[in-house]
């Protein structure tokens, strides 16, 4: 039982880190530009599609890797210049709806280019295989890689924001937009750069998720909702909050899925437990978010601004 608990915690952490990969870019863009970007899921999807296609043509994982990140970055910058740039000073409602429209367009565009059938995303052979962290329960190396990649991405973001000149500008932009504009910093360019980073992060999340998940049109929709939940719980704009909330949601979700049923059947009749457990398990994430927001309306780690 204890081993199982440990194993499910590990599963939860792994899923949580995958969520963080998506949520990081989302919360970064929100934190700096105050933009809630529903189309973040599209960039994730594009990363997965480009990586899978390039690998199937060239056979090289690294070429796919590079192409996916560059591809997501380019698409991100293009939609930033064409559409999102006009949304930074609009209400969150306008942002949600406009980026929802962008999502509709790209989901359909992907179907036009790649067809409606899900495509194959191969796993790099050097990441296949398992390690037995827990005796008797081999854990796929690829999933460990995702944990590593997510934490690395988080660390890189932290280092860039804390120690580089770009990071300094980003921090300045987040805390006082008018001031750095007045200081002669090209804020438009800065925003495009930040959006590009967010897009590249989404592309990275997509290419990492490809071998595990279904690469199909609309694959970003459900993940995006989860990522939104994560950044809301963490405090919108806070990368640290996103990390904590991702892990929290990942673990809560895994626990709910594996232990609600045995727990329920200890005090409910079996049929009632069978019906209630999966229902509650699927609501658990949203229940958590509602509870957090009721007691801490700004999320767990609201960033200090202005």
């Amino acid at each position: 039982m204890l081993l199982q608990l440990f194993e499910q915690t590990l599963n939860g952490i792994q899923f949580g880190v995958m969520l963080f990969l998506i949520a990081a870019g989302l919360t970064l863009v929100f934190g700096i530009m105050n933009l809630i970007n529903i189309a973040h899921g599209v960039l994730y999807m594009i990363g997965a599609y480009i990586c899978a296609s390039v690998i199937s043509i060239t056979g090289s994982f690294w070429q796919g890797f590079l192409a996916a990140i560059v591809g997501a970055l380019v698409v991100g910058v293009v939609i930033e210049v064409l559409v999102f740039r006009r949304l930074y000073y609009r209400t969150h409602l306008d942002q949600v709806l406009a980026t929802f429209g962008v999502t509709m367009f790209f989901n359909e565009l992907v179907r036009i280019i790649w067809g409606p059938t899900a495509i194959y995303a191969s796993m790099p052979s050097f990441l296949a295989g398992h390690v037995e962290i827990i005796p008797g329960a081999p854990f796929p190396i690829y999933r460990l890689t995702i944990i590593g990649a997510g934490l690395a991405a988080g660390l890189a973001l932290y280092l860039v924001i804390t120690y580089t000149r770009l990071g300094m500008l980003i921090r300045a932009g987040a805390s006082n937009r008018a001031m750095i504009d007045a200081l002669g910093v090209n804020i438009k360019l800065l925003y495009t750069v930040v959006f590009g980073i967010g897009a590249a992060l989404a592309g990275f999340a997509g290419l990492m998720a490809g071998p595990l998940l279904t690469v199909e049109s609309g694959m970003g929709n459900d993940m995006l909702i989860l990522a939104l939940v994560v950044i809301t719980i963490g405090g919108v704009g806070s990368i640290r909050g996103a990390l904590v909330a991702s892990l929290m949601i990942g673990v809560i979700d895994a626990m709910g899925r594996s232990f609600l049923r045995p727990v329920f059947s200890s005090f409910l009749p079996q049929t009632a437990a069978d019906a209630a457990a999966p229902a509650i398990a699927s609501m658990l994430i949203y229940l958590t978010m509602a509870l957090v927001l009721i007691f801490r309306p700004q999320g767990l780690f609201p960033p200090v601004t202005r």
Partner: protein, 320 residues
């Protein structure tokens, strides 16, 4: 204030009147062309117009951007469906329960969410929406995700909603009543306070008004009106499934509200008409219709975010 005066006072009076007259003559025109399919499509427009108008009350006037409004469509429709499941076809009971159930659900959701604002309100409304969606999916007795077939239309002592023309005019009448009552509401002191809260909450607090109660009441009224739309939808489709409560549906209602023009109530009619119409006709033209619909939404938000009514008044100003 008399009904007509209310409309003529508004700057969109002519447009509203034209739209309402056009809507009133849909069934006879469709009958003349022997094409009663359009009555069904127009009924759908009316039902979603009621939903969009109800959402406008909280989005346009109170700044509560709900991304979970489809929940009340579901609550209203499931009220009719579940009562029917137990053999109750009395229309007064149907609509009574639909109103009561939506009020209770809205009160519960509202009580825990109207304190938040901005993105947090969007997300918490989404969270409750998803919870109720999964609840509907999980209850097998009422069809789960497969949905619930409804045996018969709401039966009012004087007749049922079975005849499409009757249903159409009932929806039309309810739309008018809703429009009238909500118009009265937003023009009343209550409505003034709501708008004041939207534009400057701190100032409202400083004059000694608690925004919480006003917002909550507005939220519940909005939910109830949307619940009525749900009960009507159940009567039109004789079917309800959780898909009608999915968050993307809430997004669609929101888009209808914006398309028509926020804070104009009657704009919801245009918004619903344009959205339902575009969806139907574009999807007949190409299976890739979403690639056209998406950019239309983006353009509306970017360049005409005051909706079609906003465009109309801008045209008028341009002429001057």
């Amino acid at each position: 204030m008399p009904f007509s005066a209310m409309f003529f006072r508004s700057q969109h009076s002519i447009a509203i009147l034209v739209v309402l007259v056009l809507l009133a003559i849909v069934p006879p025109v469709a009958a003349a062309f022997n094409d009663d399919f359009y009555v069904g499509l127009a009924t759908r427009v009316l039902i979603f117009a009621i939903a969009a108008i109800s959402l406008d009350l909280i989005v346009g006037y109170a700044g509560m951007n709900s991304l979970g409004h489809a929940v009340y469509i579901g609550v209203g429709a499931y009220s009719v469906g579940i009562l029917n499941f137990y053999g109750i076809d009395n229309g007064f009971v149907h609509f009574g329960v639909a109103i009561l159930a939506s009020a209770v659900v809205a009160l519960f959701i509202g009580a825990s969410s109207v304190r938040t604002s901005g993105i947090h309100f969007i997300m918490i409304s989404l969270a409750f929406g998803q919870m109720l969606y999964y609840l509907a999916v999980s209850v097998n007795t009422f069809g789960g995700d497969d949905g619930l077939r409804i045996a018969s239309h709401s039966n009012f002592a004087i007749g049922t909603l079975k005849d499409p023309i009757v249903l159409y005019y009932v929806c039309f009448a309810i739309l008018l009543v809703v429009l009238f009552l909500l118009h009265q509401l937003v023009e009343s002191r209550f409505g003034m306070v709501l708008r004041a809260i939207k534009s400057n909450e701190a100032r409202v607090v400083s004059v000694g008004i608690s925004p919480y109660r006003y917002r909550l009441v507005g939220f519940v009224i909005s939910g109830v009106v949307c619940g009525i739309a749900g009960a009507l939808l159940a009567n039109q489709n004789l079917f309800i499934s959780p898909a009608s409560m999915h968050w993307s549906r809430s997004g669609e209602i929101l888009i209808m509200t914006i398309l028509g023009g926020m804070g104009s109530l009657s704009g919801g009619i245009l918004g619903a008409g344009i959205y339902v119409g575009l969806e139907y006709f574009l999807s007949r033209v190409t299976e890739h219709w979403q690639a056209i619909m998406g950019p239309i939404i983006v353009l509306v938000i970017l360049f005409a975010n005051r909706g079609v009514f906003g465009m109309l008044s801008a045209v008028r100003r341009g002429r001057k």
